[in-house]
């Protein structure tokens, strides 16, 4: 019997290749439009040619110390992100455990998630000074709510039958939490972590840009102020690239911690 071939669309490499080709295709379309002065000849002053942006990548790596700056931003994101997990998960558990706390605080925390905290950066500058601490604190405040809310949601949505299995086996409250509630909530907690760290990345780069301090956000600000448009877009592209790598690593960790997924 002839061996059955896996359809092309079902292979693991097909989706990323399609994604990459889509980006390349969009780049080619933009290149063609700009070279033909479309939609207007002035557009090239604010949108550089994608080919120039590609060439600028080497320049920002060699001349602008982009790797060191990535290290600074990564440190700030990781510090804020880890602090969000350390504070957010127990806070979510507390809200689950004490109904009065949940009813009192859940709406406020949801409001915190929606609030544009980045805009309050002057207040944080006054409180924590012009340095990494301010950026980390803002990113922490920005990224905390999703972890708290998703931890709470994961615990609340533990299936009743699993709790009944625990009760039928006479589990203590501690055993019930560690053996059933917490493992059941882990997928939701990971969703919270992914959201939270995305917010941390946005907050860190955004505040670095706004206060012209630190890593990649400051680099983009510098390049924009120098009106180096290819460099600015290359900087933004670099942030996207780093974010993609960052979230791929996070997904690997998630898969490693949850083999059942």
């Amino acid at each position: 019997m002839a061996s059955r071939k896996t359809p092309l669309v079902a292979t693991s490499w097909f989706p990323p290749v399609v994604g990459a080709l889509t980006v390349v295709a969009i780049g080619c379309i933009i290149e063609a439009l700009l070279r033909n002065d479309l939609p207007s000849p002035n557009t090239r002053y604010i949108i550089p040619l994608p080919s120039d942006v590609l060439l600028a990548f080497e320049r920002i790596v060699v001349e602008e110390g982009v790797l060191t700056r990535t290290g600074v931003s990564a440190f700030e994101v990781l510090t804020a992100g880890i602090a969000c997990v350390i504070v957010g998960v127990p806070l979510g558990v507390l809200l689950y455990r004490f109904d009065i706390l949940r009813r009192a605080l859940e709406d406020w925390i949801a409001a915190l998630a929606a609030a544009p905290i980045v805009l309050a950066f002057p207040l944080f500058l006054v409180l924590f000074g012009r340095g990494s601490t301010t950026i980390i604190v803002i990113a922490f405040a920005y990224g905390l709510a999703p972890i708290v809310l998703k931890t709470l949601e994961g615990l609340i949505e533990t299936r009743r039958v699993l709790i009944n299995v625990g009760k039928s086996l006479n589990l203590s409250q501690t055993q019930m939490f560690w053996k059933i509630l917490f493992p059941s909530a882990i997928p939701s907690i990971f969703t919270g972590i992914r959201l939270s760290w995305t917010f941390c990345v946005i907050a860190v780069i955004g505040v670095e840009f706004l206060v012209n301090l630190g890593g990649l956000g400051q680099l983009i600000n510098d390049l924009a102020e120098r009106y180096d448009m290819p460099g600015t877009y290359a900087g933004i592209g670099f942030v996207i690239l780093v974010s993609v790598i960052f979230f791929i690593i996070l997904e690997w960790i998630e898969k490693w911690l949850q083999p059942a997924r």
Binding site: V161, K167, K179, P183, A260
Partner: protein, 287 residues
């Protein structure tokens, strides 16, 4: 089964024929005085050592309430549920529960699911894995030890739940419609598996079900319940030969028992249906 397990199962158990579970005049009412609903009304029967008893009745007859009372998940009730003269008011180590809904832990492999009760008791890993493997084999899931529930079918997941319950060596296996979500063929085949396990372990079993053929296929006795409030309408002896397989479904005697019990059930099921329709009409009238 290993000799060690055989001994541990037999030791401390009453002789076959002795009641191990006594349900005596149990009443359970929900709600306050004005809007009280009696779910279980003066229900009495017992289950003997090694016996397979099914409780059958239409939806709303209090079967699941009874399951929760016997399993200790509903602590407050009138009357007595006794195991060794001890009144059940919370989960009892002698009772192992299998739930209607799929209840495997999705984050644990099959073997870790089955070994879970032993892990709670602090049994050493190698020993609990040995015992878990034995029960995985008993429910016919050899080779699936390292799989996760997401990689199994509905029937296989339910077998994992049954193995997880049996590994605790419960004196009474209490099952609430464990095959309700499965198709008829799988249900019959799992019925075979349950019969085989019950005969091998001499496992005292109480099955809550609304499936008439399942009840007759598996049971030694069937407790027929009335529609709300749930009372015992009749207790029927099923004298089909053992060892039993799903082949029994085609026999005249099986058909006779099904017809006989359906006669009792039909009236209750009709009453339940009429009442549901009245409630639906009233809801429609009140918008």
């Amino acid at each position: 089964m290993t000799s060690v397990e055989t001994k541990s199962r037999v030791a401390g158990k009453p002789e076959t024929g002795q009641p191990v579970l006594i349900i005596d005049d149990v009443v359970k009412t929900f709600g306050d005085a004005e809007e009280a609903v009696t779910a279980v009304d003066h229900v009495s029967f017992n289950v003997k050592q090694g016996e397979f008893v099914a409780v059958i009745g239409p939806s709303g007859c209090g079967k699941s309430t009874l399951f929760n009372i016997i399993g200790g998940l509903l602590g407050e009730y009138d009357g007595n549920v006794l195991i060794d003269d001890e009144r059940i008011s919370g989960p009892h180590p002698s009772v192992g529960m299998v739930f209607q809904e799929e209840s495997t832990f999705p984050w644990r492999s099959v073997i870790d699911n089955v070994a879970f009760p032993l892990e709670l008791r602090g049994v050493a890993k190698s020993e609990r894995y040995d015992r878990a493997r034995h029960f995985i084999g008993l429910v016919g899931l050899d080779g699936f030890e390292k799989r996760f529930p997401s990689q199994l079918s509905g029937g296989m997941k339910q077998r994992v739940s049954i193995a997880r319950t049996l590994v605790s060596n419960p004196r009474i296996l209490l099952m609430d419609e464990p095959f309700a979500a499965l198709d008829e063929q799988t249900r019959l085949l799992l019925g075979d598996k349950i019969t085989q396990i019950q005969q091998e372990l001499k496992q005292t079993t109480l099955l809550i079900t609304h499936n008439l053929t399942e009840a007759v296929q598996l049971s030694d006795r069937i407790v027929v319940m009335t529609y709300r409030p749930g009372k015992v309408k009749r207790i029927a002896d099923i004298n089909l030969p053992r060892p039993r397989t799903s082949d029994v479904v085609g026999s005249d005697a099986f058909g006779h028992y099904v017809a006989e019990i359906w006669n009792d059930l039909r009236e209750e099921a009709s009453r339940g249906m009429q009442e549901s329709e009245q409630v639906a009409r009233a809801d429609r009238r009140h918008g």
